[in-house]
Symmetry: C2
Subunit: 234 residues, 2 copies
Amino acid sequence: MEVKTKHKLGRKRLSEDLTTEIRNYIIDKGLKPGDALLTEQQMVERFGVSRPVVREATKALDFLGIIRSAPRRGMILDSFDFDRVSEYFGFHFALSDYPKDELLKSRIALETGALYYTMEAMREKPELFDYLMECVEIADTEEDIEAWIEHDIAFHRALVEVSNIGPLGSFCDLIHVFFHEFHDKTAQGHFVSGKEQHEQIVHALRDGHVDEAVRILRFHLSWYEDDEEPGVSS
Amino acid sequence: MEVKTKHKLGRKRLSEDLTTEIRNYIIDKGLKPGDALLTEQQMVERFGVSRPVVREATKALDFLGIIRSAPRRGMILDSFDFDRVSEYFGFHFALSDYPKDELLKSRIALETGALYYTMEAMREKPELFDYLMECVEIADTEEDIEAWIEHDIAFHRALVEVSNIGPLGSFCDLIHVFFHEFHDKTAQGHFVSGKEQHEQIVHALRDGHVDEAVRILRFHLSWYEDDEEPGVSS
DNA sequence: CCGCTTTATTTGTCATACAATAACACAATT
DNA sequence: AATTGTGTTATTGTATGACAAATAAAGCGG
Protein backbone atom coordinates (compact mmCIF):
# COMPACT_ATOMS: atom_id res chain seq x y z
CA MET A 1 0.00 0.00 0.00
CA GLU A 2 0.96 3.54 -0.35
CA VAL A 3 2.73 4.96 2.57
CA LYS A 4 0.54 7.61 3.97
CA THR A 5 2.35 10.68 2.90
CA LYS A 6 3.08 13.30 5.41
CA HIS A 7 -0.08 15.16 5.44
CA LYS A 8 -2.11 16.69 8.11
CA LEU A 9 -2.49 13.94 10.65
CA GLY A 10 -4.63 15.97 12.91
CA ARG A 11 -5.56 18.71 10.53
CA LYS A 12 -7.76 20.25 13.08
CA ARG A 13 -4.99 21.96 14.91
CA LEU A 14 -6.13 25.48 15.41
CA SER A 15 -2.67 26.92 15.93
CA GLU A 16 -1.62 25.84 12.48
CA ASP A 17 -4.67 27.35 10.88
CA LEU A 18 -4.05 30.48 12.81
CA THR A 19 -0.60 30.97 11.34
CA THR A 20 -2.10 31.17 7.89
CA GLU A 21 -4.79 33.51 9.14
CA ILE A 22 -2.15 35.72 10.62
CA ARG A 23 -0.28 35.59 7.36
CA ASN A 24 -3.40 36.57 5.48
CA TYR A 25 -3.96 39.36 7.93
CA ILE A 26 -0.47 40.67 7.25
CA ILE A 27 -1.02 40.51 3.52
CA ASP A 28 -4.44 42.11 3.76
CA LYS A 29 -3.22 45.01 5.79
CA GLY A 30 -0.13 45.32 3.68
CA LEU A 31 2.06 45.35 6.75
CA LYS A 32 5.78 45.87 6.48
CA PRO A 33 8.62 44.96 8.81
CA GLY A 34 8.44 47.15 11.85
CA ASP A 35 4.69 47.49 11.77
CA ALA A 36 2.73 46.49 14.82
CA LEU A 37 0.63 43.38 14.78
CA LEU A 38 -2.41 42.54 16.84
CA THR A 39 -1.89 41.83 20.49
CA GLU A 40 -2.49 38.36 21.79
CA GLN A 41 -5.75 39.44 23.35
CA GLN A 42 -6.92 41.01 20.13
CA MET A 43 -6.15 37.83 18.26
CA VAL A 44 -8.09 35.86 20.81
CA GLU A 45 -11.12 38.01 20.13
CA ARG A 46 -10.69 38.38 16.41
CA PHE A 47 -10.01 34.75 15.60
CA GLY A 48 -12.06 33.19 18.35
CA VAL A 49 -9.44 30.93 19.85
CA SER A 50 -7.82 30.71 23.22
CA ARG A 51 -4.62 32.41 24.17
CA PRO A 52 -2.47 29.27 24.23
CA VAL A 53 -3.46 28.65 20.63
CA VAL A 54 -2.51 32.19 19.74
CA ARG A 55 0.81 31.76 21.44
CA GLU A 56 1.55 28.45 19.77
CA ALA A 57 0.91 30.04 16.41
CA THR A 58 2.84 33.21 17.05
CA LYS A 59 5.77 31.41 18.61
CA ALA A 60 6.05 29.30 15.48
CA LEU A 61 6.26 32.45 13.40
CA ASP A 62 8.56 33.91 15.98
CA PHE A 63 10.88 30.96 15.62
CA LEU A 64 11.05 31.61 11.90
CA GLY A 65 11.95 35.19 12.68
CA ILE A 66 8.87 36.55 11.01
CA ILE A 67 7.55 38.33 14.07
CA ARG A 68 9.16 39.67 17.19
CA SER A 69 7.42 40.21 20.48
CA ALA A 70 8.14 42.11 23.65
CA PRO A 71 6.14 42.90 26.73
CA ARG A 72 4.13 46.06 26.56
CA ARG A 73 5.11 46.56 22.96
CA GLY A 74 3.09 43.76 21.50
CA MET A 75 4.13 41.93 18.42
CA ILE A 76 5.71 43.51 15.39
CA LEU A 77 6.80 42.24 12.05
CA ASP A 78 10.49 41.61 11.91
CA SER A 79 12.74 42.03 8.96
CA PHE A 80 14.34 39.06 7.38
CA ASP A 81 17.22 37.56 9.27
CA PHE A 82 19.41 34.83 7.88
CA ASP A 83 20.75 33.91 11.27
CA ARG A 84 17.27 32.75 12.15
CA VAL A 85 17.29 30.67 9.05
CA SER A 86 20.43 29.01 10.21
CA GLU A 87 18.70 27.84 13.35
CA TYR A 88 16.32 25.59 11.56
CA PHE A 89 18.89 24.64 8.99
CA GLY A 90 20.76 23.28 11.96
CA PHE A 91 17.82 21.03 12.56
CA HIS A 92 17.75 20.06 8.95
CA PHE A 93 21.38 19.08 8.94
CA ALA A 94 21.12 17.31 12.25
CA LEU A 95 18.23 15.20 11.03
CA SER A 96 19.63 14.48 7.62
CA ASP A 97 22.92 13.33 9.06
CA TYR A 98 25.07 14.50 6.20
CA PRO A 99 28.38 12.70 5.88
CA LYS A 100 31.51 14.51 6.90
CA ASP A 101 32.88 14.94 3.42
CA GLU A 102 29.73 16.69 2.28
CA LEU A 103 30.06 19.16 5.09
CA LEU A 104 33.67 19.71 4.19
CA LYS A 105 32.89 20.24 0.53
CA SER A 106 30.13 22.61 1.47
CA ARG A 107 32.54 24.57 3.56
CA ILE A 108 35.14 24.71 0.82
CA ALA A 109 32.58 25.73 -1.75
CA LEU A 110 31.27 28.48 0.48
CA GLU A 111 34.62 29.88 1.45
CA THR A 112 36.15 29.69 -1.99
CA GLY A 113 33.02 31.16 -3.51
CA ALA A 114 33.28 34.10 -1.18
CA LEU A 115 36.90 34.85 -1.98
CA TYR A 116 36.07 36.88 -5.06
CA TYR A 117 34.09 39.30 -2.98
CA THR A 118 36.70 39.29 -0.26
CA MET A 119 39.14 40.38 -2.91
CA GLU A 120 36.78 43.07 -4.13
CA ALA A 121 36.29 44.32 -0.61
CA MET A 122 40.05 44.47 -0.11
CA ARG A 123 40.47 46.46 -3.27
CA GLU A 124 38.01 49.05 -2.04
CA LYS A 125 39.26 49.06 1.51
CA PRO A 126 42.97 48.32 1.59
CA GLU A 127 42.96 48.36 5.36
CA LEU A 128 41.18 45.03 5.26
CA PHE A 129 44.46 43.50 4.21
CA ASP A 130 46.02 44.56 7.47
CA TYR A 131 43.00 43.36 9.36
CA LEU A 132 43.18 39.92 7.83
CA MET A 133 46.91 39.71 8.39
CA GLU A 134 46.24 40.50 12.01
CA CYS A 135 43.89 37.56 12.13
CA VAL A 136 46.63 35.42 10.66
CA GLU A 137 49.05 36.52 13.33
CA ILE A 138 46.58 36.08 16.15
CA ALA A 139 45.90 32.58 15.00
CA ASP A 140 49.58 31.89 15.25
CA THR A 141 50.40 33.34 18.63
CA GLU A 142 48.45 30.88 20.67
CA GLU A 143 49.92 27.63 21.76
CA ASP A 144 46.94 26.04 23.37
CA ILE A 145 45.35 23.92 20.72
CA GLU A 146 41.84 24.78 21.77
CA ALA A 147 42.54 28.46 21.43
CA TRP A 148 44.27 27.85 18.15
CA ILE A 149 41.21 26.14 16.78
CA GLU A 150 39.12 29.08 17.83
CA HIS A 151 41.43 31.53 16.15
CA ASP A 152 41.73 29.40 13.08
CA ILE A 153 38.00 29.35 12.63
CA ALA A 154 37.93 33.03 13.43
CA PHE A 155 40.29 33.64 10.54
CA HIS A 156 38.17 31.68 8.12
CA ARG A 157 35.14 33.49 9.43
CA ALA A 158 36.82 36.83 8.91
CA LEU A 159 37.83 35.82 5.41
CA VAL A 160 34.17 35.51 4.53
CA GLU A 161 32.80 38.27 6.66
CA VAL A 162 34.92 41.05 5.25
CA SER A 163 33.08 40.46 2.00
CA ASN A 164 30.10 41.80 3.89
CA ILE A 165 27.55 39.40 2.46
CA GLY A 166 25.11 38.57 5.21
CA PRO A 167 23.62 35.28 4.06
CA LEU A 168 27.00 33.90 3.15
CA GLY A 169 28.33 34.67 6.60
CA SER A 170 25.37 32.98 8.22
CA PHE A 171 25.82 29.87 6.14
CA CYS A 172 29.49 29.71 6.98
CA ASP A 173 28.82 30.11 10.65
CA LEU A 174 26.40 27.24 10.52
CA ILE A 175 28.82 24.97 8.70
CA HIS A 176 31.66 25.92 11.03
CA VAL A 177 29.66 24.63 13.96
CA PHE A 178 30.04 21.14 12.63
CA PHE A 179 33.78 21.56 12.34
CA HIS A 180 34.39 22.27 15.98
CA GLU A 181 33.68 18.62 16.64
CA PHE A 182 36.26 16.92 14.50
CA HIS A 183 38.58 19.82 14.13
CA ASP A 184 41.14 18.82 16.69
CA LYS A 185 41.45 15.25 15.53
CA THR A 186 43.84 16.16 12.78
CA ALA A 187 44.78 19.65 13.76
CA GLN A 188 48.20 18.68 14.97
CA GLY A 189 50.97 19.44 12.59
CA HIS A 190 49.03 22.08 10.77
CA PHE A 191 49.97 24.96 12.96
CA VAL A 192 52.75 26.11 10.76
CA SER A 193 51.53 25.24 7.31
CA GLY A 194 48.18 26.64 8.33
CA LYS A 195 49.66 30.03 9.04
CA GLU A 196 51.69 30.03 5.87
CA GLN A 197 48.71 29.18 3.76
CA HIS A 198 46.59 31.77 5.48
CA GLU A 199 49.21 34.32 4.57
CA GLN A 200 49.41 33.13 0.99
CA ILE A 201 45.66 33.42 0.59
CA VAL A 202 45.53 36.96 1.87
CA HIS A 203 48.48 38.00 -0.25
CA ALA A 204 47.03 36.42 -3.35
CA LEU A 205 43.78 38.27 -2.78
CA ARG A 206 45.59 41.54 -2.32
CA ASP A 207 47.34 40.99 -5.63
CA GLY A 208 44.08 40.17 -7.36
CA HIS A 209 44.91 36.52 -7.98
CA VAL A 210 41.62 35.11 -6.92
CA ASP A 211 42.03 31.83 -8.76
CA GLU A 212 45.25 31.17 -6.96
CA ALA A 213 43.72 32.08 -3.62
CA VAL A 214 40.91 29.67 -4.34
CA ARG A 215 43.35 26.89 -5.09
CA ILE A 216 45.34 27.50 -1.94
CA LEU A 217 42.24 27.64 0.19
CA ARG A 218 40.87 24.46 -1.30
CA PHE A 219 44.16 22.71 -0.65
CA HIS A 220 44.37 24.25 2.78
CA LEU A 221 41.02 22.82 3.79
CA SER A 222 41.30 19.50 2.09
CA TRP A 223 43.57 18.05 4.77
CA TYR A 224 40.39 17.41 6.69
CA GLU A 225 39.50 14.62 4.37
CA ASP A 226 42.63 12.68 5.17
CA ASP A 227 40.79 9.65 6.37
CA GLU A 228 42.61 9.20 9.56
CA GLU A 229 39.99 7.49 11.72
CA PRO A 230 42.06 7.44 14.88
CA GLY A 231 39.91 4.93 16.63
CA VAL A 232 36.25 5.71 16.67
CA SER A 233 35.67 5.80 20.36
CA SER A 234 32.23 7.25 20.12
CA MET B 1 4.61 23.48 43.71
CA GLU B 2 7.91 23.59 45.46
CA VAL B 3 9.95 25.26 42.85
CA LYS B 4 8.40 28.51 41.91
CA THR B 5 9.54 31.96 40.94
CA LYS B 6 12.75 30.92 39.32
CA HIS B 7 14.60 34.15 38.75
CA LYS B 8 15.57 34.26 35.15
CA LEU B 9 16.59 37.82 34.78
CA GLY B 10 17.87 38.51 31.37
CA ARG B 11 16.71 35.07 30.42
CA LYS B 12 15.18 34.78 27.06
CA ARG B 13 12.04 32.98 26.27
CA LEU B 14 11.94 29.48 27.62
CA SER B 15 10.20 28.06 24.60
CA GLU B 16 13.00 29.25 22.39
CA ASP B 17 15.63 27.74 24.61
CA LEU B 18 13.64 24.55 24.65
CA THR B 19 13.76 24.18 20.90
CA THR B 20 17.52 24.11 21.02
CA GLU B 21 17.44 21.69 23.93
CA ILE B 22 15.17 19.45 21.94
CA ARG B 23 17.54 19.72 19.02
CA ASN B 24 20.43 18.75 21.25
CA TYR B 25 18.38 15.87 22.55
CA ILE B 26 17.77 14.71 19.01
CA ILE B 27 21.44 14.95 18.18
CA ASP B 28 22.50 13.28 21.41
CA LYS B 29 20.21 10.33 20.97
CA GLY B 30 21.00 10.16 17.31
CA LEU B 31 17.31 10.11 16.48
CA LYS B 32 16.23 9.80 12.91
CA PRO B 33 12.94 10.54 11.18
CA GLY B 34 10.32 8.12 12.38
CA ASP B 35 11.75 7.77 15.85
CA ALA B 36 9.60 8.57 18.82
CA LEU B 37 10.28 11.65 20.85
CA LEU B 38 9.50 12.42 24.44
CA THR B 39 5.92 13.07 25.38
CA GLU B 40 4.88 16.50 26.48
CA GLN B 41 4.71 15.38 30.06
CA GLN B 42 8.17 13.86 29.90
CA MET B 43 9.53 17.07 28.52
CA VAL B 44 7.87 18.96 31.32
CA GLU B 45 9.71 16.81 33.84
CA ARG B 46 12.99 16.56 32.00
CA PHE B 47 13.41 20.20 31.13
CA GLY B 48 11.61 21.68 34.10
CA VAL B 49 9.20 23.91 32.28
CA SER B 50 5.47 24.03 32.07
CA ARG B 51 3.40 22.35 29.46
CA PRO B 52 2.43 25.51 27.59
CA VAL B 53 6.11 26.22 27.10
CA VAL B 54 6.66 22.71 25.84
CA ARG B 55 3.81 23.14 23.45
CA GLU B 56 5.02 26.48 22.18
CA ALA B 57 8.38 24.94 21.44
CA THR B 58 7.11 21.75 19.89
CA LYS B 59 4.46 23.50 17.85
CA ALA B 60 7.15 25.71 16.39
CA LEU B 61 9.06 22.60 15.34
CA ASP B 62 5.84 21.02 14.25
CA PHE B 63 5.23 23.99 12.03
CA LEU B 64 8.54 23.36 10.33
CA GLY B 65 7.56 19.76 9.77
CA ILE B 66 10.30 18.52 12.05
CA ILE B 67 7.88 16.99 14.52
CA ARG B 68 4.67 15.16 13.92
CA SER B 69 2.25 14.70 16.77
CA ALA B 70 -1.01 12.92 17.38
CA PRO B 71 -3.04 12.13 20.45
CA ARG B 72 -2.13 8.96 22.21
CA ARG B 73 0.78 8.39 19.89
CA GLY B 74 3.03 11.09 21.15
CA MET B 75 5.47 12.98 19.01
CA ILE B 76 7.75 11.53 16.38
CA LEU B 77 10.45 12.98 14.24
CA ASP B 78 9.80 13.72 10.63
CA SER B 79 12.03 15.07 7.95
CA PHE B 80 11.05 18.63 7.67
CA ASP B 81 8.90 20.21 5.08
CA PHE B 82 11.01 22.33 2.82
CA ASP B 83 8.04 23.58 0.85
CA ARG B 84 6.33 24.87 3.92
CA VAL B 85 9.41 26.77 4.91
CA SER B 86 9.97 28.14 1.43
CA GLU B 87 6.39 29.28 1.35
CA TYR B 88 6.76 31.36 4.45
CA PHE B 89 10.21 32.60 3.56
CA GLY B 90 9.01 33.76 0.20
CA PHE B 91 6.19 35.48 1.96
CA HIS B 92 8.42 37.04 4.51
CA PHE B 93 10.95 38.02 1.94
CA ALA B 94 8.28 39.76 -0.08
CA LEU B 95 7.60 41.98 2.90
CA SER B 96 11.13 42.85 3.69
CA ASP B 97 13.64 44.80 1.78
CA TYR B 98 16.62 42.58 2.16
CA PRO B 99 19.43 44.01 0.07
CA LYS B 100 19.23 42.31 -3.26
CA ASP B 101 22.88 42.65 -4.06
CA GLU B 102 23.72 40.54 -1.02
CA LEU B 103 21.36 37.86 -2.19
CA LEU B 104 22.85 38.00 -5.63
CA LYS B 105 26.39 37.82 -4.35
CA SER B 106 25.44 34.95 -2.09
CA ARG B 107 23.98 33.13 -5.01
CA ILE B 108 27.00 33.73 -7.18
CA ALA B 109 29.37 32.69 -4.43
CA LEU B 110 27.42 29.51 -3.78
CA GLU B 111 27.07 28.49 -7.38
CA THR B 112 30.60 29.33 -8.39
CA GLY B 113 31.92 27.64 -5.28
CA ALA B 114 30.09 24.48 -6.23
CA LEU B 115 31.41 24.37 -9.77
CA TYR B 116 34.63 22.65 -8.78
CA TYR B 117 32.69 19.71 -7.43
CA THR B 118 30.35 19.77 -10.37
CA MET B 119 33.40 19.39 -12.54
CA GLU B 120 34.69 16.56 -10.37
CA ALA B 121 31.35 14.82 -10.56
CA MET B 122 31.34 15.15 -14.33
CA ARG B 123 34.77 13.65 -14.55
CA GLU B 124 33.64 10.62 -12.63
CA LYS B 125 30.31 10.33 -14.36
CA PRO B 126 30.58 11.59 -17.91
CA GLU B 127 26.88 11.06 -18.47
CA LEU B 128 26.29 14.10 -16.29
CA PHE B 129 27.50 16.20 -19.17
CA ASP B 130 24.63 14.96 -21.30
CA TYR B 131 22.24 15.47 -18.43
CA LEU B 132 23.26 19.08 -17.96
CA MET B 133 23.15 19.75 -21.67
CA GLU B 134 19.62 18.41 -21.62
CA CYS B 135 18.80 20.94 -18.95
CA VAL B 136 20.27 23.63 -21.15
CA GLU B 137 18.07 22.58 -24.04
CA ILE B 138 14.94 22.31 -21.94
CA ALA B 139 15.50 25.79 -20.65
CA ASP B 140 15.61 26.98 -24.24
CA THR B 141 12.57 25.27 -25.68
CA GLU B 142 10.02 27.20 -23.74
CA GLU B 143 8.76 30.54 -24.86
CA ASP B 144 6.51 31.42 -22.00
CA ILE B 145 8.59 33.55 -19.72
CA GLU B 146 7.25 32.00 -16.55
CA ALA B 147 8.17 28.56 -17.71
CA TRP B 148 11.52 29.82 -18.86
CA ILE B 149 12.25 31.19 -15.43
CA GLU B 150 11.40 27.84 -13.92
CA HIS B 151 13.67 26.02 -16.30
CA ASP B 152 16.43 28.52 -15.91
CA ILE B 153 16.43 28.05 -12.17
CA ALA B 154 16.15 24.33 -12.70
CA PHE B 155 19.37 24.45 -14.68
CA HIS B 156 21.20 26.38 -12.02
CA ARG B 157 19.82 24.00 -9.44
CA ALA B 158 21.01 21.04 -11.46
CA LEU B 159 24.41 22.62 -11.83
CA VAL B 160 24.81 22.50 -8.07
CA GLU B 161 22.93 19.31 -7.36
CA VAL B 162 24.97 17.07 -9.61
CA SER B 163 27.84 17.79 -7.27
CA ASN B 164 25.82 15.79 -4.77
CA ILE B 165 26.56 17.95 -1.76
CA GLY B 166 23.46 18.07 0.36
CA PRO B 167 23.96 21.19 2.45
CA LEU B 168 25.10 23.17 -0.55
CA GLY B 169 21.96 22.19 -2.40
CA SER B 170 19.86 23.31 0.53
CA PHE B 171 21.54 26.69 0.67
CA CYS B 172 21.05 27.17 -3.04
CA ASP B 173 17.42 26.17 -2.84
CA LEU B 174 16.86 28.75 -0.18
CA ILE B 175 18.56 31.48 -2.12
CA HIS B 176 16.73 30.55 -5.28
CA VAL B 177 13.44 31.05 -3.50
CA PHE B 178 14.23 34.72 -3.32
CA PHE B 179 15.05 34.92 -6.97
CA HIS B 180 11.64 33.84 -8.05
CA GLU B 181 10.39 37.13 -6.74
CA PHE B 182 12.39 39.51 -8.84
CA HIS B 183 13.56 37.21 -11.53
CA ASP B 184 11.27 38.38 -14.27
CA LYS B 185 12.03 42.04 -13.81
CA THR B 186 15.07 41.90 -16.01
CA ALA B 187 14.73 38.52 -17.55
CA GLN B 188 13.79 39.81 -20.97
CA GLY B 189 16.53 39.79 -23.49
CA HIS B 190 18.52 37.12 -21.76
CA PHE B 191 16.87 34.17 -23.37
CA VAL B 192 19.49 33.70 -25.98
CA SER B 193 22.63 34.77 -24.20
CA GLY B 194 21.45 32.73 -21.22
CA LYS B 195 21.42 29.55 -23.22
CA GLU B 196 24.78 30.25 -24.78
CA GLN B 197 26.39 30.92 -21.46
CA HIS B 198 24.82 27.85 -19.93
CA GLU B 199 26.39 25.86 -22.71
CA GLN B 200 29.74 27.50 -22.26
CA ILE B 201 29.72 26.72 -18.58
CA VAL B 202 28.97 23.06 -19.05
CA HIS B 203 31.56 22.74 -21.78
CA ALA B 204 34.20 24.48 -19.72
CA LEU B 205 33.52 22.11 -16.85
CA ARG B 206 33.76 19.12 -19.12
CA ASP B 207 37.14 20.33 -20.30
CA GLY B 208 38.32 20.88 -16.76
CA HIS B 209 38.51 24.65 -17.02
CA VAL B 210 36.86 25.42 -13.75
CA ASP B 211 38.27 28.95 -13.49
CA GLU B 212 36.78 29.84 -16.83
CA ALA B 213 33.45 28.28 -15.89
CA VAL B 214 33.46 30.35 -12.74
CA ARG B 215 34.09 33.53 -14.68
CA ILE B 216 31.32 32.81 -17.16
CA LEU B 217 28.87 31.96 -14.43
CA ARG B 218 29.71 35.07 -12.49
CA PHE B 219 29.22 37.19 -15.56
CA HIS B 220 26.09 35.26 -16.44
CA LEU B 221 24.48 36.03 -13.10
CA SER B 222 25.68 39.57 -12.72
CA TRP B 223 23.07 40.97 -15.08
CA TYR B 224 20.71 40.89 -12.15
CA GLU B 225 22.26 43.99 -10.72
CA ASP B 226 20.16 46.70 -12.30
CA ASP B 227 20.73 49.95 -10.55
CA GLU B 228 24.26 49.18 -9.60
CA GLU B 229 27.18 50.67 -11.42
CA PRO B 230 27.09 49.24 -14.92
CA GLY B 231 30.23 47.35 -15.46
CA VAL B 232 33.46 46.67 -13.78
CA SER B 233 36.40 46.12 -16.00
CA SER B 234 36.45 42.62 -17.33
C1' DC C 1 11.45 71.77 31.99
C1' DC C 2 13.61 67.67 33.53
C1' DG C 3 14.16 63.47 36.06
C1' DC C 4 12.11 60.13 38.97
C1' DT C 5 8.13 57.26 40.34
C1' DT C 6 4.03 55.10 39.56
C1' DT C 7 0.79 52.90 36.68
C1' DA C 8 -1.05 50.21 33.15
C1' DT C 9 -0.66 47.23 29.44
C1' DT C 10 1.17 43.32 27.24
C1' DT C 11 3.89 39.37 26.96
C1' DG C 12 5.87 35.33 29.67
C1' DT C 13 4.94 31.50 32.53
C1' DC C 14 2.45 28.32 35.31
C1' DA C 15 -1.42 25.37 36.95
C1' DT C 16 -5.53 23.02 36.09
C1' DA C 17 -9.40 21.16 33.78
C1' DC C 18 -11.74 18.99 30.21
C1' DA C 19 -12.40 17.18 25.36
C1' DA C 20 -10.96 14.28 21.57
C1' DT C 21 -8.64 10.60 19.85
C1' DA C 22 -6.34 6.44 19.18
C1' DA C 23 -3.74 2.57 21.06
C1' DC C 24 -4.46 -1.09 24.21
C1' DA C 25 -6.65 -4.67 27.16
C1' DC C 26 -10.06 -7.62 27.68
C1' DA C 27 -14.39 -9.72 27.32
C1' DA C 28 -17.90 -11.54 24.25
C1' DT C 29 -19.26 -13.98 20.35
C1' DT C 30 -18.74 -17.10 16.66
C1' DA D 1 -9.04 -20.26 19.25
C1' DA D 2 -9.58 -16.35 16.58
C1' DT D 3 -11.92 -12.33 15.71
C1' DT D 4 -14.56 -8.63 16.97
C1' DG D 5 -16.69 -5.32 19.87
C1' DT D 6 -16.26 -2.41 23.87
C1' DG D 7 -14.39 -0.01 27.52
C1' DT D 8 -10.13 1.92 29.42
C1' DT D 9 -6.37 4.88 29.36
C1' DA D 10 -2.60 7.60 27.83
C1' DT D 11 -1.57 11.55 25.13
C1' DT D 12 -2.39 15.49 22.60
C1' DG D 13 -5.69 19.55 21.77
C1' DT D 14 -7.99 23.41 23.76
C1' DA D 15 -9.70 26.56 27.20
C1' DT D 16 -9.56 29.40 31.42
C1' DG D 17 -7.52 31.82 34.93
C1' DA D 18 -3.92 33.63 37.50
C1' DC D 19 0.36 35.83 38.44
C1' DA D 20 5.15 37.57 37.29
C1' DA D 21 8.10 40.45 34.52
C1' DA D 22 9.05 43.99 31.63
C1' DT D 23 8.41 48.30 29.69
C1' DA D 24 6.14 52.19 27.59
C1' DA D 25 3.38 55.87 29.11
C1' DA D 26 1.47 58.74 32.28
C1' DG D 27 1.86 61.24 36.57
C1' DC D 28 4.43 63.71 39.99
C1' DG D 29 7.77 66.42 42.30
C1' DG D 30 11.81 69.10 41.95
